[in-house]
């Protein structure tokens, strides 16, 4: 099965602590291949890092193995996390276990596919603009993008630092929440993590798994019109039916408006590409990674190394990011994108004065067929319309299976207020119990 869907780049084992007990003891976990594993190559789905072996493990990997989970392999991904289909990997596309002619979503497609195919109990992905939630939706499993600062990024190979978080993928809401319980918490190696005892309104002793109790009685669910407009009708019908079931369980739904999200995809791509152009400058073939045979000077050698090591989508984003930051264009693109980001954040803050969670389709479309969107990058970017707002606003979000349309999985996304992971887990568990 593993070979059929190409979920893993590398199958290798890191044994979990045999003496540990708790929900993850004896669980198997698949780790996205941009999360460092000591002694096991970590490729980011790129030719550039095909032979890179990290000298240390990411904090999240140590926390999982200390909790008793055994790592079973490194999962395939869009190159450096840049894609919505897992087709931009240098190691070939991953197939969707539900329908192998379709993509699993991306960029954490290997992680979601591994869980959906039963290759691992739990998986880790990273979510910069939807990369955990999109593949969870397309493969019919659960994915959580935590609040920015809840989970350590130490050992995560950076794509766009201000947006990304590592998050769990699992077959059920409770399993995903249990994995989040293990990986969450401040880390001296990542200065952007927060100590929840110092965050107003957050509960440092919260158990996310315990919040999966299905009790939505009295909960207010905001339904933003902007995130339904333009979505595939079959997706909208499936998601609306799931929301109606939440109402039947005692939740109250209310239509809301988030006008800023119309600009979320543009703002996301400008910011992510700008950060990527800076982050990926480190890949010059000197300290690690592929190195071209060039006998030219410093600049020629770097340019050749990077031509050979990076795929087309990574080059596109580095170049567009460089362009957006260059003299004469910085104000036009980057500054406006930061304005849009602040606007999105304020829109959500205002909405959460009246509602507890915000529900929408995770993806506005059903899973693409393999090859369908690869030649049209803009079309692929537009599929991120509903997931990117949570990254721009630093908010927690979960994708939970809402049902099927034409035999394909449809994901419902629930976004919560900052550090409101318990609320989105609770609401998602009610969706799952339908």
């Amino acid at each position: 099965m593993a070979a059929d869907i190409n979920a893993f780049v590398t199958e290798a084992t890191i044994e979990g602590d045999a003496d540990a007990d708790g929900p993850l003891a004896d669980a198997t976990v698949a780790v996205k291949d941009n999360i460092s594993t000591e002694g096991i190559r970590t490729t980011c789905g790129s030719e550039m890092l095909a032979d890179y072996v990290p000298p240390y493990s990411a904090t999240v990997v140590d926390r999982l193995t200390e909790a008793g989970a055994t790592v079973v392999g490194k999962t395939n991904m869009d190159e450096f996390g840049m894609g919505t289909t897992t087709e931009t990997s240098a190691f070939g596309p991953t197939r969707n276990p539900v329908d192998t002619d379709r993509v699993p979503g991306g960029s954490s497609g290997g992680s979601a596919a591994a869980v959906a195919a039963g290759e691992a109990d739990v998986a880790l992905g990273s979510d910069t603009g939807g990369s955990v939630r999109c593949p969870a939706a397309f493969c019919g499993v659960v994915g959580i993008k935590p609040t920015y600062g809840l989970v350590s990024r130490y050992g995560l190979i950076a794509y766009a630092n201000s947006l990304e978080q590592i998050g769990p993928i699992a077959g059920t809401v409770e399993e995903a929440a249990a994995a989040l319980d293990v990986i969450a918490g401040d880390d001296p190696h990542d200065g952007t993590t927060r100590d929840l005892s110092e965050v107003t309104g957050a509960d440092p002793s919260a158990s996310y798994a315990a919040a999966a109790d299905g009790d939505v009685d009295g909960m207010t669910v905001g339904v933003p019109t902007e995130l339904f407009e333009g979505a595939d009708e079959r997706v909208v019908e499936t998601v609306e039916a799931a929301i109606a079931d939440l109402e039947a369980r005692g939740a109250e739904t209310t239509e809301i408006s988030l006008p800023s999200v119309e600009h979320a995809v543009q703002a996301y791509y400008v910011i992510a590409m700008a950060e990527a152009s800076s982050n990926l400058a480190r890949f010059d073939g000197v300290r690690y990674g592929h190195r071209g045979e060039s006998d030219g000077n410093w600049n020629e050698s770097f340019a050749e190394t990077r031509e050979e090591g990076f795929g087309a989508e990574v080059k596109r984003r580095i170049l567009l990011g460089t362009y957006a930051l260059s003299a004469g264009y910085h104000d036009k693109y980057y500054e406006k994108a930061q304005d849009a980001r602040a606007w999105v954040r304020q829109d959500f803050e205002a909405a959460f004065e009246d509602v507890d969670v915000i529900a929408s389709p995770t993806m506005p479309v059903l899973p693409f067929e393999l090859g369908e969107s690869l030649d049209d990058p803009l079309r692929m970017y537009l599929a991120d319309a509903n997931t990117t707002p949570a990254n721009l606003a630093n908010l927690p979000a979960i994708s939970v299976p809402a049902g099927e349309a034409d035999g394909l999985p449809v994901g419902l996304q629930l976004v919560g207020p900052k550090f409101g992971e318990e609320t989105i887990v609770r609401a998602a568990s009610a969706v799952e119990e339908r």
Binding site: Y269, V270, V286, G289, S294, A303, R316, L319
Partner: protein
Amino acid sequence: MSDTAASDDGAAAVDAEEVRHVADLARVRLADDEVDEFAAQFGDILEYFEALDEVPETEREEELVNVMRPDEIEEGLSQEEALANAEETEDGFFVGPKVS
């Protein structure tokens, strides 16, 4: 603010020369057919980004604090570990390409 990327109809047009310039800044060599493909795609993508012009100027108040730690010596990678992934090393150093 310079607005040279916008052609008369307001759409962002990017020509091959601009793609080459940016690729040069980013130290990424491109094949000729890649330059043409990127020029066409960048035109579409930048035209889509134009919609950011409609975004109102927004107050950006973020509660950001510096995170400090005591400046104490901690165990780090050994020299051998730090060099282990390098393509070329010499006497415990990285070897880079020639400067000129």
